[in-house]
Amino acid sequence: MHSIFGQLPRFLSYYNLEFILQAALTTLLLSISGCVFGFIFGFGIAVLRETTGPLWLPLRAAAVLFVEIFRRIPFLVTLFLVFYACQALNLDISVFAVAVASTCIIGAAFLSEVVRTGFDAIPSQEREAAAAMNFTLAQTLFLIVIPQAWRVILPPTFAFFLSFIKDSALASQLGVVELTYSAKVMNNKGFSPVLGFGAALILYFAISYPLARFGLYLEQRLGFSRYRKP
């Protein structure tokens, strides 16, 4: 106990703090880029699943398969899969890129379901009316469904992003220098694990908690009415 407090001044040196904060930034960057790309792909998958007719059937089936597979694999295993696949293909990309790609895959699988639930929240009669007036699927989605569904889609998407800030800790296993990795480095430098991991916990909290509050605000703000108020 005594030694922990004794280490504190040395632990809080400028160099260490810069290293840890840099790592925290990497955590944030990894989560944001992974979720943004994941959302774009997930959105595409959700749109694909709305198509009808035999022409699109193979793509539709592929989309369902992709979602059902990657929703059921732990992030850690996805990370290893992508990592070793890149190695086998002799792709020379950084571990950070591997982590972003893995996040993107998992994110696409989960977020496509979020988007699909949002589409389903719009009364089917409005879509029928659009169909009877010869709107194409793209027109129906972009002019009628999405302008209403985004309120349903946004809060759970944000919640997924939040959960990914925490899941990104697993990327430390590949050697991505993010917050958890920095804690292990401090540990290996001989600092007490209470300090190293304690600092990581505090920083994760400092990132996640305000965002969680914002997410709650979003949910309350958008949740009540899906209709546009004047």
Binding site: G53, P123, Q125, E126, E128, A129, A130, A131, A132, M133, N134, F135, Q139, L143, I144, P147, Q148, R226, Y227, R228, K229, P230
Partner: protein, 245 residues
């Protein structure tokens, strides 16, 4: 030749046969009403006509063209000429009244914006909503929403208008404002197929009335024939019930 011809149309929903060998014709300028108990297939017939309910067999001809419902392009051409108004109005909740009406002409037909806006405004004035152009659907009464839905259907300049129980979801005091708009269209010679439970209105406005039960047409004739002197027992039964209500 008949304007719209339906021959041996059959449709089912799972195991349940909803349309069983429907045959009828509609001439240009005619108003044909479909009556009958709930679940008799009146709404299903309208939905099948616009391709919202898959047709199993049978034939539909519009102005001589045979419509193959499996052919997406043919359905598209058909929907270009028919418009349907639903019981639940089904207005787009994310846009104001004017945009609801001008959206399809603009985006689907590709007509110029100013023209669409002018025509939409005129149509909304015609149904008595000229003062509500920039109001959102959820701020309107049911009757007003249904009149917007009428204007929206008319904006596509359809050759036949299908009305699917357009007053059934309305409070009684709001029914007449919608019926008045329909009367106006009738006086202009609009071809319509109407599904309705408003018997007095059906009698007043229809050229012919078709009585349906259990997915089939039981009897078809002029309003007087159907209401005063129904030949078929089931039609007598139904008419008896509604007249003594």
């Amino acid at each position: 030749m008949d304007f719209l011809g339906i021959e041996n149309l059959k449709a089912r929903y799972g195991e349940h046969v909803v349309l069983n060998d429907i045959s009828m014709t509609v001439e240009k300028g005619e108003i044909v009403s479909l009556i009958g108990p709930s679940g008799s297939g009146k709404s299903s017939l309208l939905r099948a006509l616009v391709g919202l309910l898959p047709v199993e067999s049978g034939e539909v001809r519009l102005n001589g063209e045979i419509i193959n419902y499996r052919d997406k392009q043919a359905v598209k051409r058909l929907r270009d000429r028919l418009a349907i108004v639903f019981q639940q109005y089904n207005l787009f909740q994310n846009m104001d009244v004017l945009r609801n009406v001008m959206l399809a002409p603009m985006k689907v037909k590709g007509w110029p914006r100013e023209e669409c806006e002018r025509e939409a405004t005129a149509l909304l004035e015609k149904v008595g909503l000229g003062a509500k152009l920039h109001v959102y659907p959820d701020q309107l009464s049911g009757g007003q929403q249904q009149r917007v839905a009428l204007a929206r259907a008319l904006a596509l300049r359809p050759e036949i208008l299908l009305l699917d129980e357009v007053t059934s979801a309305l409070d009684p005091e709001l029914v007449n404002e919608v019926l008045d708009s329909i009367r106006l269209l009738a006086s202009e010679g609009m071809t319509m197929i109407i599904v309705s439970h408003e018997m007095a209105f059906v009698r007043e406005v229809s050229s012919r009335v078709s009585m349906m039960a259990a997915g089939s047409i039981v009897e078809i004739g002029t309003p007087d024939e159907i209401f005063q002197n129904p030949k078929h027992e089931r039609a007598r039964d139904f008419v008896g019930k509604i007249l003594h209500r």
